[in-house]
Point group: C2
Chain length 89, copies 2
Amino acid sequence: MADVFNALSSPVRRNILSMLKEKDMTAGEIADQLNITKPTLSGHFNVLKTADLVVTERCGTTISYSLNTTVIEELMASVVGLLSKKDKD
Amino acid sequence: MADVFNALSSPVRRNILSMLKEKDMTAGEIADQLNITKPTLSGHFNVLKTADLVVTERCGTTISYSLNTTVIEELMASVVGLLSKKDKD
DNA sequence: TTGTTATTTCGCTAATTACCAAAATAGAAC
DNA sequence: GTTCTATTTTGGTAATTAGCGAAATAACAA
């Protein structure tokens, strides 16, 4: 869960997730819309993959990224845990 | 909300919130339990205060810190937003 | 005012992170 | 095999962050 919060702490990465929420996209499509280079984007994707927030699927020459909603549901449970006493994060 | 995610991205700070969840505490009490110096802790408190996650109340010579549950409720709404389409974070 | 305790700010170093350009890799088509 | 396109890794610098000790500040008590 630490990795998830870390991933979400970057505005760029929340932006990426926001785009993936609408539809699956390739790394190139996202790099075009945000104003960052592909190597930089690749680094952000690594953080998101470490947090298990996105999953990848190769479609021919491109790689399609999509949101892993399961982890976001777990995140939600963790945030609820911030409010309820006597259990570990 | 960016500040909130940023604050939560540190294990030390999540630890602090977890302790405050159980009961209000002073900076000194928290510094004793975690293994960090008071200046370092003070820095973490600044991040938590910037995110509005904690509120302070001075009681004589000590300052009592407590959790601001309102912001955590807003955080919860933001996480839900990660799952629902067509609205900004 | 002086002294005591609690917390913060200052000044600094070490570690981490963000970013880019260029080179390397992976897969598909030929 | 070669070539083309998409993505990642490498190598580097600049910016940010975490941590500490020492000094400064705040509130209270005497």
